[in-house]
């Protein structure tokens, strides 16, 4: 008897609570990696950015089309030749804990990112504001260029005009967080990545924002659940909840989608043809060119790679068209520059066409007739692995022996940013949809190393052109400058230019009204309707 009770208890423990079939008004989604901190000041990866852009909002945000649209601010004026921004806050804006969003919150949020004790890795988002650097160093008590004449007005002054500034304000780092429950303006709560203080750690694991959604549950490594923020003004989303499951393996995500337990799936390259070839699914697939460039960065200061002719030879030796064809199913655009299609500044140039003999001739002329050896560093990802392996194969035919070194992000970043590797595979995502974001970080000598220019490209003409483009307010002049700069760089071949990926999503039959956004930060799921008939 006793034994059977014990057995029952054991079985009860194993079976746990009830089972959970797909619920009618819950949207089921998958994340590849588990977000770590949901503090907008600390966001560094896609998963965190995605969740934070749902929970928080800044003065402005990105629409699904990638345009800057009002968020906490309803409207704004730009004065003084593009150096002064006056934002008028939405009087109805509230945080998910019910407190009103006031101008002091905006100030405090910016101060907390920039403060001398802040560990935010995203200070650069706000450092265009006048006085930001002084405040960060601790030489000034406040940010000179930031003021609030009243509760619903924020005035921001910049050091000098900066074209993409509004786009910067739509990034998570510029999101607004509540200051101590609406009391007197308190000192900026320090952002601490190690949670040495409560406030920083608190927000990272219990986020409170004024976005369309709020976080209800978070079982780390398992799932996150969001529901509409009841205090958000305007039309509420049509669904009751979003459930993000964390599923690291691509293979498993597909299995879940096929089993009908995921509503939206980003289709892996390997499965693309299968999905597109399936007539019952074709009309549920959406695609968009990504604001992302995939490339093999060549360290322009090391060994044979110092020589532009050698770098051009490497470009000529790799059959990029074939790689695009086979590895992306022909769904990527060959890169002949760094600025992706869809952004002003994109140009389709004459590519380094596949010419192995010509490449060999260039290499011999440069004195490397017997080839040489290089390391290509990369992070472990199925799609990246395939690209690098293909490039490795092509370069081997040229006599360039490639050793592939796979490292995780921090080891990779340390070695690459400090210039200790010959070459590396990377893809650069747009932080904000602007050509400037593909030129200044990647090719300006000021950013050599950790700033983003990991190929240590240095060209004074390019430097000064980038600077003048940043100060240019006029759109078309700016675009022309981007085109010129990108072309100049392409000619120097600091990279092996690969491609601009296109990404595809497929939605489950019950999902209606979904638009695949241009930028993942523009996702808000507010128009989705879940129909009952899709449920089997």
């Amino acid at each position: 008897m006793k034994r059977s009770i014990a057995l029952l208890a054991f079985v009860a423990f194993l079976t746990g609570c009830s089972k959970s079939p797909l619920e009618g008004d819950v949207l089921y989604l998958a994340l590849e990696t588990s977000p770590n901190k949901l503090d907008p000041a600390l966001v560094i990866d896609v998963a965190e950015g995605q969740i934070c852009s749902l929970i928080y909002q800044g003065l402005v945000r990105f629409s699904p089309e990638g345009d800057v649209v009002p968020a906490a601010a309803t409207n704004w004026e730009i004065e003084a030749n593009g150096t002064r921004y006056i934002f008028h806050l939405d009087p109805r804006a509230r945080f998910s804990n019910g407190t009103r969003l006031l101008a002091k919150d905006v100030k405090a949020s910016f101060e907390r990112v920039l403060s001398p004790t802040s560990n935010s890795p995203r200070k650069w988002v706000l450092d265009r504001i006048a006085g930001a650097a002084e405040f960060s160093r601790g030489t000034s008590e406040s940010i000179a260029g930031l003021s609030s004449p009243d509760d619903s007005t924020i005035v921001i002054e910049l050091r000098e005009p900066f074209g993409p500034f509004l786009q910067l304000l739509a990034m998570p780092a510029a999101a607004i967080v509540p200051t101590g429950g609406g009391g007197a303006p308190s000192a900026a709560p320090p952002v601490s990545a190690t949670a040495a203080d409560d406030s920083g750690g608190e927000l990272a694991s219990r986020p409170v924002g004024s976005g369309k959604w709020k976080l209800d549950r978070w079982e780390r490594g398992d799932f996150l659940e969001l529901s509409p923020n009841p205090y958000h003004p305007g039309e509420p989303p049509r669904i009751k909840r979003i459930r993000y499951r964390i599923i690291p393996e691509a293979f498993t995500r597909i299995a879940e989608f096929e089993a009908g337990t995921l509503d939206i799936l980003k289709i892996p390259q390997a499965e693309l043809d299968r999905f597109l070839g399936d007539a019952s699914r074709r009309d549920r697939i959406q695609s968009r060119p990504e604001l992302r460039v995939a490339y093999i960065g060549l360290n322009n200061t090391r060994g044979p790679l110092k020589n532009p002719a050698v770098r051009r030879a490497l470009n000529l030796a790799v059959d990029v068209d074939r790689i695009v064809d086979v590895l992306t199913g022909g769904h990527a655009v060959r890169a002949t520059g760094a600025i992706p299609p869809g952004l002003p500044g994109y140009v389709k140039r004459e590519p380094y066409a596949y010419a192995p003999t010509e490449a060999g001739r260039l290499l011999r002329a440069a004195g490397y007739g017997d080839g040489f050896e290089i390391d290509i560093w990369q992070r472990d990802s199925p799609e990246g692995n395939r690209v690098v392996e293909a490039v490795q194969g092509y370069l081997l035919e040229l006599g360039v022996r490639v050793r592939v070194v796979k490292r995780e992000w921090s080891a990779f970043k340390e070695a690459v940013s400090r210039g200790r590797v010959d070459a590396f595979f990377l893809d650069w995502y747009a932080d904000y949809p602007n050509g400037e974001n593909f030129l200044y970080p990647l090719f300006h000598s000021e950013n050599a190393g950790g700033g983003g220019n990991r190929s240590f490209f240095h060209n004074t003409r390019v430097d000064s052109l980038i600077e003048s483009a940043q100060r240019t307010v006029d759109r078309s002049t700016c675009t022309e400058l981007y085109e010129t700069i990108d072309g100049l760089v392409y000619d120097q071949a600091p990279w092996i230019y690969l491609f601009f990926p296109t990404s595809f999503v497929v939605v489950s039959p019950r999902v209606q009204g979904y638009t695949y956004p241009v930028l993942y930060l523009g996702e808000d799921f507010s128009q989705i309707i879940l129909s009952a008939e899709g449920n089997s």
Partner: protein, 311 residues
């Protein structure tokens, strides 16, 4: 028995210290600057220096080691670099998932393994015996990760009878595929051990006696042989319970199971030093504890084994 238990327990303490030290230095030599995984694409050196100071990374090794041991005594491994959560809390939160999976896997391996083993002994030298024993030896040789993938492919994608992955809020059906994957080799081994132990016992003479007394062949097999065959089975099952911790690393990754195995692998891949130290140490601790219990149980069940050591 008492003296043996005390001796084993006393040996446990220096062992723990050794494991702690090895864990610390293993993690200390990990390449890659952990601070760089905390900052994004564009960062400045000041932030990095500040983080490094906060995490004591600017201190010499022996000071860091001191911090580690001091924390260990209080069961405090510090705060994760990546999530900002307390390491011991996260480890304790993740462990029950792994434990549940391991228990279920153990249940499978005992129930299926023993039944198959008994039947194979019963049907000794029949096609059933050959087929099951052939299957089990193949089962032992199959890589865990590959089997997991095949199971998802067949049962979740093709037949669609079981969920592919995840914890599913405790739904038993979610546990079947990962548990079977985890239990596979163990089940096969238990079946083989059961069968061979029973064969040994059956050959022994007191069974002959039992037969002489006229007990029916059926009862004889179950009453005598099974009881005697259980000893090696218990040892194997106990030892395998520890090996589930190893298997969990692969199984949990494939099945998106939020347990300690995947947690530790993630931490290692992200160079989250406090988490690696805490998780690896905790896994070793559990592993050692299980082995200790198995040893004690073994000595208790069969006093002849005492002090001889299992391995």
């Amino acid at each position: 028995m008492f003296a043996y238990t005390v001796k084993r327990l006393l040996l446990f303490i220096p062992l723990l210290f050794g494991v702690a030290t090895v864990t610390f230095f293993l993690v200390y030599v990990l390449p890659g600057d952990p601070v760089l995984s905390m900052v994004g694409e564009r960062y400045d050196e000041e932030t990095i220096d500040q983080l490094r100071r906060e995490m004591h990374l600017d201190q010499p090794v022996y000071v860091q080691y001191g911090y580690f041991i001091a924390g260990l005594v209080r069961l405090d491994f510090g705060t994760s670099y990546v999530t900002g959560e307390t390491v011991s809390e996260s480890v304790l939160k993740r462990f029950p998932y792994t434990f549940r999976l391991a228990l279920f896997a153990m249940l499978i391996s005992v129930v299926i393994g023993v039944s198959v083993g008994v039947l194979a002994a019963w049907k000794w030298r029949t096609p059933f015996d050959y087929v099951t024993m052939g299957t089990t030896i193949v089962g032992i040789s199959m890589p865990v990760f590959w089997l997991g993938v095949l199971l998802i492919y067949v049962f979740a994608m093709k037949l669609r009878v079981l969920p592919a992955s995840g914890y599913g809020g405790g739904d038993l059906r979610h546990m079947i595929l990962p548990a079977v994957t985890l239990a596979q080799a163990s089940t096969a081994y238990v079946a083989r051990i059961t069968r061979s132990s029973m064969m040994d016992v059956i050959r022994e003479h007191y069974i002959q006696t039992a037969r002489a007394k006229g007990v029916s062949e059926h009862r004889m097999l179950f009453a005598h042989a099974l009881r005697n065959a259980l000893l090696p089975v218990i040892t194997v099952v106990g030892a395998d319970f520890g090996s589930y911790l190893s298997g969990a690393v692969l199984t949990e990754s494939i099945f998106a199971w939020p347990g300690l195995g995947r947690f530790t692998l993630d931490a290692i891949l992200k160079r989250d030093i406090p988490t690696i130290q805490g998780a690896v140490f905790f896994m070793a601790l559990v592993f050692m504890a299980i082995n200790l219990v198995v040893d004690l149980m073994y000595a208790w069940i069969d006093p002849r084994i005492k002090l001889v050591g299992r391995k």
